[in-house]
Amino acid sequence: MTKIRKILELKNINKSFQGLKVLQDLNLEINKGEIGCLLGPSGSGKTTLFRIASGLEAADSGQIIKNNNPRFSYVFQSPRLLPWKTAEENLIFVQKNYGLEKEAQLRDLLFNLSGLAQFKDAYPHELSGGMQQRLELIRAFAVKPDLVFLDEPFKSLDMKTRINVRKLISLIQSESEITIFLITHDPEEALLLADRIYILAAEAKGIINEIEITQARNNRKIADPEIYQELEKIMEIFTNLVSDLEYAAEDIKNLF
């Protein structure tokens, strides 16, 4: 059995915003070489947790343990590309921070994989939303990271692009052993891409469940019974989180 090594560990994380407690005594482990996923509805605190884990924000209390000083990179929810630089220059911009600006071959590979090879010299405003997001994605890989954080990367993408991006992430990950950690509110995305899913709920101010998916990623379909079963489980969890509204049936009848 291959030893599972932790690349990042969060212990007893607490965070409040303006008096409201968002995360309470939260524990999370990200394993090296995995695609981890944080699944939760809006307002569950997943963005906060994400920002704390990735170092963009500080927790009120708790520990963050990094193994071997890993290099982080990021894919933000909406593309944060420098508008005055071309697509390739945007990649070079971050590569320079790690002395990788000469890695033209790597850039070419990434451009080819993402279908953006013809747009290396285009400015971001010349690219469509989906293309910008793909550029955002390959930029994250261009720095040869140890751990890539993705914040709802599929949010604004159409179905075709989603499939494309999913395949891309999956492929790069399996061939390179880069750790991926993404957050999403879409259970389907989580099930199709992740090796391990952490379910987050605002009511619990923390992680209420952890699911491991063992099927090979390139073969997964929602229709697969195992996958579908997990989906049902997740849906049930969420349904239980939502309070019963039946008590108001009478009022609704009367008022409307």
């Binding site: 990179s73 944060r80 971050v94 790690y98």
Partner: protein
Amino acid sequence: MKNFITKPFWVLLIILFLIWEQGAAGLNSLILPSIGESYQALKEIAFSGILVESFLITLRRTLIAYGMSVLSGIILALLLYRFQLLKRTFRPLITIVQATPPVVWVSLAVVWFGVADDLTPIFLIFIVSLPVIFVNIFQGLEEMNTDLIEMAEAYSTPRFRIVKEIYLPSLLPALVSALSIAFAFAWKSSVFAEFIASSSGIGYQLSRANSLMATDRLFAWTIVLILFMLFVEYYLLEKLKKHVSRWKND
């Protein structure tokens, strides 16, 4: 120049010239000199050398004061953006300076600087241009996209590179816009101050033409002023603007 001077404008210009010529035919040279008379006066001032001489004097003063105001405006904007206390203390003062009519500044300058020929125009230009530069740059700073900076910081970008590759390009459009507006102010203020308080420069020549009732000369100098302004605005600055905006969404 192509992008600005389009056909409709030329047509309008010709119509205006016709109106001018028609009007001047009926009135004497004192009230409205004809195009020919103005051109004649223009030739005179060009050949006598006074055109170039006065132009260079005015230009010199304008550039000195303009340069000072650009530098100070940028520094002031950076300081007030960085230090909240300074911002709260000085921001209203800048508004007050901006609200004071230029004619008040000239009058004060005349009293303070007496007969110093250069100081009054330089002072006026500086005081009028500084707020313009400041406001534009300050606004550019406030509108800066902090997301991009967060991204750069997350990717471990060193501070100086963030300044060089994010702050600077981000502020460039605001800066160019500021430079453009401020220059127009500077040039006009220069002439205005010279008109009232100097014994050299284009403004002084205007004042002289005025007191000698040489309206044709007045027109000639005005043409010089306008042509120069057009040149700067639509040739120099336009080029700069284009260069800076090439990455922008049109």
